[in-house]
């Protein structure tokens, strides 16, 4: 029997249209590139507008005044431009919200990824994410119409107890507190609490991803050394997921800083410098809403203030994102 040599393909039967493939390739590349460019151009456009208007603003109001004035009254006759009045409100509310979201979100994440059975996880995770889908305006009036009255009622209920506590405190040297603080109808406390609930799913979902993606063999390694489940989670799994957890927290803070509806509805519109969570304040975003709702004349100082505040907001979130980026790069463990 003769061994057949592999037959040579008849060249004439194969005529791939290389030119057309190449042309389609180029067109597809251009289309994809164009769509990608849209987002970049938009960002650049926003940054350019913000910077341009902010520079105009700073030509009239010196930066020093912007940073050191103790009042924020750009719409009044006697104008003062102390941005820290607005920044303090934003920072306070964001801190309150992250104090709520961090424990809630992290514990939910740990529970979901480490303790829940696969079936529970399949049910609970989407439910948690539904929370993220509630419109923020709903959260806003929930804070204003439900949480604030409840807190007021709670404070009233606790007044006798708090008065005793106050008396004890005042008996100590160097402490003199006149009376109990009163929770106003608009306040940062309930805005912060509700904002915290709003960003909890974000923290929970992203942290859960980070915790879940810690390789199983690290857990096995810990168990094989005679550790309990809790010890494995606290000493091996959480440290291994640290970068993901921190970046989820930072993303949540950026979200809180930029949140508008809840703080506009529940925290008030009263620029107050300080960190008292019981009184009405005005955050940066709430100010932007106030001015854009009104009729600020193009080119007027009120109009330019808008951009100065916007730039400040942008710089804060940018700084947070850069920190997060750096942190993740620095602390991410690479498991192949």
């Amino acid at each position: 029997m003769t061994v057949q040599s592999p037959s040579t393909p008849s060249q004439s039967l194969w005529r791939p249209n290389r030119d057309r493939s190449r042309l389609i390739q180029t067109i597809v590349k251009c289309i994809c590139g164009a769509f990608a460019a849209v987002s970049i151009i938009t960002t650049l456009g926003i940054v350019a507008t913000l910077l341009f208007e902010t520079i105009t603003f700073l030509q009239e109001i010196p930066l020093w005044q912007f940073l050191t004035d103790r009042k924020w009254t750009p719409l009044f006759a006697s104008k003062e431009f102390g941005i820290f009045v607005l920044v303090s409100a934003t920072v306070m509310i964001s801190i309150i919200s992250i104090l709520v979201a961090m424990p809630l979100g992290l514990l939910a994440a740990i529970c979901l990824s480490e303790y829940a059975s696969p079936r529970m996880r399949k049910i609970l995770k989407p439910v948690l994410e539904v929370l993220a889908g509630v419109p923020t305006v709903v959260y806003g009036y929930f804070a204003l119409l439900t949480v604030t009255p409840s807190l007021q009622a709670l404070l009233e209920f606790l007044t006798p107890l708090l008065n005793v506590f106050l008396a004890v405190l005042n008996a100590l040297p160097f402490i003199a507190i006149e009376s109990l603080p009163e929770l106003k109808g608009f306040n940062s406390l309930s805005a912060g609490l509700v904002l915290g609930v709003m960003i909890t799913p974000l923290v929970a979902s992203l942290s859960e991803d980070a915790i879940y993606s810690v390789p199983q063999r690290l857990r096995d390694g810990a168990y094989a050394l005679g550790t309990t489940k809790r010890e494995t989670i606290t000493s091996v799994v959480l440290p291994a997921a640290l970068s993901g957890i921190v970046s989820s927290l930072i993303l949540a803070i950026s979200r809180a800083v930029g949140e508008t509806m809840i703080v506009t509805l529940a925290a008030g519109a009263n620029p107050t410098l300080g960190l008292n969570p019981f009184v009405p304040v005005m955050t940066m975003t709430a100010f932007i809403v106030q001015v854009t709702k009104g009729d600020a004349v193009h080119g007027s100082i009120a109009y330019q203030t808008l951009f100065a505040v916007g730039t400040t907001l942008f710089l804060i979130t940018l700084a947070l994102n850069i920190f997060s980026f750096w942190f993740v790069r620095r602390f991410r463990e690479k498991y192949d």
Binding site: A224, T227, A240, E333
Partner: protein
């Protein structure tokens, strides 16, 4: 067909498995294993993929408990005590029966902390620096890492990471070390180092090693268990123990035809 060989030795028995079967959900992974692991000896488990050798290994420190669908039947005793008894704490058992895994899995902590972690968790009261040094020396890693104990365990090479994992396992002074294909992710030189290390560790510990490498089994072990898999009615594979005897018997004059074929490289 199965046999509990190696029973008559001068060594005391560390583990004894009787009619051990493990199933995952409705799938039987390995069935009716009888064997004895003598103390201060190296026992190798060999066999083709899916024959249940790793599954059996993971019964000795109850790592199968961590897989919700796993079910273990039969009886395993460790120093005469049934380890699947209700009153036995799996966490305590794992402290006495250490494990080294197929892929090196150092914790994302410093080299020092990788060793000290298990000791701290288990309430070690002695001198930690001394324990870390001793464990790293025993694992033949000390000279390579003594100047960078603060560096991350993940910064080491694969072979070093695996020796770090061995050091971590022996730091908590177990009685047995289970090794699940510890060299499969290592290069030949690192493999050789781990094998040399096993010979030294044998003085203090009982070692059970799962390996795909028959040369490794014949070079290092005192006893060898050959597992095989057979097709089941459901279309899956079920593992069983074919033969267990002194390593030289398994490799030179096995009692079973399939063992002969496997160790001579005719299948598997």
């Amino acid at each position: 067909m199965t046999q509990t060989a190696g029973a008559t030795t001068a060594h005391k028995i560390a583990f004894q498995a009787e009619k051990l079967s493990v199933s995952y959900g409705s799938v039987m992974a390995v069935k009716d294993v009888f064997l004895e692991i003598p103390q201060n000896q190296i026992v190798a488990f060999i066999g083709p993929s899916g024959c249940g050798k790793s599954t059996v290994l993971r019964c000795f420190n109850r790592m199968n408990d961590l897989i919700p669908s796993a079910k273990v039947e039969g009886r395993i005793t460790f120093n005469g005590q049934d380890i699947y008894d209700k009153h036995v704490d799996a966490v305590e058992l794992r402290r006495r029966v250490g494990m080294v895994f197929q892929r090196p899995n150092p914790f994302p902590k410093s080299i020092y902390q990788n060793i000290a972690f298990g000791a701290k968790i288990n309430g070690y009261q002695g001198d930690m620096d001394e324990l870390v040094e001793r464990s790293l020396r025993d694992a033949a890693l000390w000279d390579e890492v003594k100047d960078k104990l603060k560096a991350s365990g993940l910064s080491l090479s694969g072979g070093q990471q695996q020796r770090l994992c061995i050091a971590r396992a022996i730091a908590i002074e177990p009685e047995v070390i289970l090794m699940d294909e510890p060299c499969s992710a290592l290069d030949p030189i690192s493999t050789l180092r781990v094998e040399e290390l096993m010979q030294e560790l044998k003085q203090k510990y009982t070692i059970v090693i799962v390996t795909h490498n028959m040369q490794q089994a014949s070079r290092t072990s005192d006893y060898t268990a050959f597992y095989n898999a057979k097709a089941t009615d459901q279309g899956g594979k079920m593992g069983y123990l074919v033969e267990y005897d002194r390593t030289e018997v398994i490799f030179q004059q096995p009692a079973q035809q399939s063992t002969q074929e496997y160790v001579s490289g005719r299948f598997g």
